[in-house]
Symmetry: C2
Subunit: 298 residues, 2 copies
């Protein structure tokens, strides 16, 4: 019989991920602050636990999928947390996007009890979670990675081991730097073209064919052409990631002037009540500044 | 017999472009400030003219490929310039990357004499000019574009009509905004990853497979991996284009906060004596700030 797996954090991402594990035949013990998703998973055969500590007592591998660094710290190191039953042979796989410096600190605490940890943040969003096509970026002990690979492959398509603990998180943060800045770059370019009176579709076509082409431009072109910014990946979440990026950068001593400015622009977009837009909606802030709407003649 | 074409500006780009026209069978009359390239073209069958005015007297279509806006203004509107022999049926095709606002002003002046103008900046660099694979972005009168198309196709592979005069230039500037900012975004992401101790090749591979992927990242990966930044497209030239972008943006009333910051970073790179690097060399400035070299452990 397959080994028991624990799953803590049954939100928009965690719920479909946990279901893939059940479908793959792993017996599952789950924990979540609110009850309804727990009951949903119970109906599919999962067992419920009343605390993270109880989860780790019943499963050797525990997966966490939580909003931010303090949530992971609480679940791992707080009262009733994993640390209380940490032991050799037990493994935490944290798939949340949190500060890699926090991942390193939590891992060090667990290690004192002989327990291993992997950081394994994902890219691909709700769609990737539902379709089990996530890209999973993993940091931590190589042997721990190897024995976890079949479990991760039940939830994702591309699973990459990138180095020691924190490596998954750092690559995820680098990814979020490039995406946030490139979306803002596209916004500035398109707003200039719009105010110059250019046809948006022709301009995007010309840009996409040259060195300005990117997966961001390709994926977000329908948003720009229809001027609709339903998420997708929310501005609020990318803003949270920009905070993690700047925190990690300060910790490592890496000045990031452009990321810092883009963080302020995302902050301005949220101040205007648009934190729920897709992150490509950053273009609406540039439109406000220039007094133009992309896709319409000035 | 094919119509005479004038060609003014026989630099790194103009020389190979003019040769393609000769090869395509067009009789050519050329003008250039320095003599050697004129003699080179004469040896291939071109006729030499002593001034822009003499060029336009002998050819109905005149192509210019000059460094910047003031050069085009001088050749078109200055003493001994095209304006002195401008007449209906004559056409200026300016393929330089200059301010689109200047293109519009020059076009308006020529129009007073009944002469048409297209702005047709190119993307693809010296390699594209030599191989006749340039992407040519054209603005101006549609009928003038249609009759010029065979001439442009002798020098480029993708020729796109984007709208009225200035449209080619505006799309070229939007392209240069996105490329400069995205190269800086990649630099910030990779420097963070490097200082965190990540393997550069693994990190780039993970980034390229996700939403951070772009033609910039793809084309410049060899530069990052070998830490060599031979041009390619020089920082000095991209800095010139960033100046044109900010000038055009001011004229149109388009605030470009990220472009403005990236312009300052390119300026800092030049102040460090690195204006001759490929524009992907912007990463060396971020490396200096963070005290790390990408591709080496911190």
């Amino acid at each position: 019989m397959a080994q028991w797996i624990g799953f803590i954090g049954l939100g928009i991402m965690g719920r479909p991920m946990a279901k893939h594990l059940l479908r793959a035949g792993y017996p599952l013990v789950v924990h979540n602050r609110s009850r309804p998703p727990v009951e949903e998973l119970q109906a599919l055969g999962a067992r419920a636990a009343s605390s993270p500590r109880q989860v780790i007592e019943e499963a050797d591998v525990v997966i966490t999928m939580l909003p931010n660094s303090p949530d992971v710290e609480l679940v791992a190191l707080g009262a009733g947390g994993l640390i209380e039953a940490a032991a050799p042979g037990k493994l935490l796989v944290d798939m949340s996007t949190i500060s890699p410096l926090v991942s390193q600190r939590v891992a060090a605490e667990l290690k004192k009890q002989g327990m291993e940890m992997l950081d394994a943040p994902v890219s691909g969003g709700e769609k990737g979670a539902i379709e089990a096509t996530l890209s999973i970026m993993v940091g931590g002990d190589r042997a721990a990675f190897d024995r976890t690979l079949p479990i991760l492959q039940a939830m994702g398509k591309t699973v990459t081991h990138l180095g020691p603990i924190g490596s998954g998180g750092f690559v995820k943060l680098a990814n979020q730097i490039i995406v946030a800045i490139n979306l803002t770059a596209i916004a500035e370019g398109l707003v200039l073209a719009a105010k110059a009176g250019l046809d948006l579709e022709l301009a995007i076509k010309a840009l996409a064919g040259g060195l300005a082409g990117s997966r961001c431009l390709e994926q977000k072109t329908p948003n720009y052409l229809t001027h609709s910014f339903q998420p997708g990946f929310k501005v609020d979440l990318h803003y949270k990631d920009l905070g993690l990026i700047m925190e990690a950068a300060r910790g490592l001593g890496v000045p990031l002037p452009v990321t810092a400015l883009v963080q302020e622009l995302f902050s301005a977009l949220r101040a205007r009540g648009r934190g729920g837009l897709d992150h490509s909606g950053i273009i609406t802030l540039l439109e406000d500044l220039a007094g133009v709407q992309v896709g319409r003649r000035p």
